[in-house]
Amino acid sequence: MVLVASILTGPLTLVLMAHFISDLEQKASNLKVRIAGAAHAPALVNFLQRNDVEIEAAPADYEQRIREGRLDAVIVVRDDFDERFLGGDQAKVEIVYDDSRTDAGPAIRQAERLLRAFNRETGTLRMVARGVSPDLTEPVKVDHVSTATPRSRGAMLLFLIPMFAILSPLLGGMALAIDSTAGERERGSLEPLLGNPVPVSRIVVGKWLASWTFAAGVGLLTLGGFAAAATLYAQPKLKALLAFGAPELADFTLVVIPFAAMSAALQMLICTYGRSYREAQTYVSYLATAVSFVPVIAIFSGIKDATWQLAVPVLGQQMVLGRIIRGDDVPLLDYAVPAAIAAAIAGLCIAALARLLDDERIVFGRS
């Protein structure tokens, strides 16, 4: 169940994302406006036609449709438009939209842009006709030069993949971490198990290796799903944005495997305090929530990438994964520091666990 879910996560997310992007792009690139009362504004219509904009008459019930989300934006021309326009007075148009709908954004901005362009053109022509240089109204000329490469623009979308890389080991190791600690005690199998002539530390290490294997396995399967989907999915737009193939997967592995070692050990330690499977489940879900908040906090508090972050669990992984996916050069140290800290935390957790399971108050409950 977990395996199937983890394999499917990547492809499904990417397909949904691709759909979303192409939808947005389509709405924006396909220049089309809906106008109510186009007949009253021949100048505007002429301008739009010259700019290859497709004009569609708005249906009579456009307000209703906009409210229901079936229409994005409509330009409404008043009856006296032409009269005022030719007379040199301010002619008025309205853009009707529902700005609570984010996906209407491109259509609204497009309508605004077109109207602004029409304004500028008309104004320029009028000034030229009066012998005034149009440059006077535009003392500063603004050109947009975006430095974002397609790949780093993709990274904004690919914020998701690092998040999955961090959360999926937590989800993958959870069942085993609970079952091998609180579950084992609830079932009554802990006491017979510890009666065997095997040092507790070895039993604990065995349990941890099993949880780690699952945590890392589920993490890698999830990422493998993403890589497979990103490679096979033939959506050209997405392909240009997404660079998540075998090399990135390999780099992610270097981060995810040590992280899973830590998360599995931490989960087991927390679960040992749970008196029942259910109680342990609650504790573990707190941990997962705390972990999933870290990237969010990092984004909202606007912390910039800095070396000290490497030393903070989760934050460090998040930063390194982000760099990998942006295609930045990641020095070896950036892999080593979070991994070493994860290993140290895992070691401490295991030592603490071995002590706990050697404590009769923990093994037999507080009876």
Binding site: R187, G188, S189, E191, P192, L194, P197, V198
Partner: protein, 240 residues
């Protein structure tokens, strides 16, 4: 052989065991008899090294349980209060897992599993998952797991609890078989008949202390009663 001397175990204010001393020799079945809460399970847990005594000592074949826990565990097979077999494993896997934990080789384990299955009449159950097992079937798996490594000392905590007559009988056969093989068998029960039917030696425990020790005839004489149940009630009441 199991030797327990002046054993005491305290949990905070509660004295679960105050003063328990006895010796359970090899080739003999020793019954630890007492009402619920007398301290039987705690005594067995101390002997099996899972709990540290507050005072006194216990030794298994001369190995003190507080000095060499792993050494003592090697000489013990303990059927604990919590049977705790793994529901997702088959009976065979449950038993073989414990064989492996005792360091037995794979082939040795498989041979032993077959042998125990014949003893316990559970060959048909071996390759089924245990989650659908009846209480008697679970007990058979737990017993087989307890003695898979052929331990010289076998501790059984209330083994007949919740079993039907048929299973109880086959359990008695196993216990006698172990004694005849020269093992030291120590088993706890709160059922007088159970103990008197099986045990060579009876240790009566009440309120954390030994109140009487001997075979059935000696206990009758000590209590001055003419049946064992009266004798037990009388003797168990003495510790109060």
């Amino acid at each position: 052989m199991i030797r327990v001397e002046r054993l005491a175990k305290r949990f905070g204010e509660i004295h679960a065991v105050r003063d328990v001393s006895f010796t359970a020799p090899d080739g003999s079945i020793t019954g630890l008899l007492g009402p619920n809460g007398a301290g039987k399970t705690t005594t067995l847990r101390v002997i099996s090294t899972l709990m540290a005594p507050s005072a006194g000592t216990a030794a298994v074949d001369g190995v003190e349980v507080t000095r060499d826990r792993l050494g003592a565990r090697l000489r013990i097979g303990m059927l604990s209060d919590a049977r705790g077999i793994y529901a997702r494993l088959t009976a065979r896997e449950n038993i073989a897992y414990y064989g492996a934990l005792h360091g037995m080789a794979r082939e040795a384990v498989q041979g032993r599993v077959e042998e125990l299955a014949r003893w316990l009449d559970m060959e048909a159950l071996l390759d089924r998952r245990t989650d659908g097992f009846s209480q008697g079937e679970r007990m058979k798996v737990a017993i087989a797991r307890t003695i898979v490594h052929d331990p010289p000392n076998v501790l059984l905590d209330e083994p007949t609890n919740g079993l039907d007559v048929m299973t109880t009988r086959s359990l008695r056969d196993i216990i006698r078989r172990l004694r005849d093989a020269g093992k030291c068998v120590l088993f706890s029960s709160h059922v007088m008949q159970e103990v008197s039917a099986l045990c060579d030696d009876i240790v009566i425990v009440a309120h954390g202390a030994v109140v009487a020790h001997g075979n059935a005839a000696q206990l009758l004489a000590a209590s001055g009663r003419d049946n064992l149940e009266d004798a037990f009630v009388h003797l168990a009441g003495e510790g109060a």
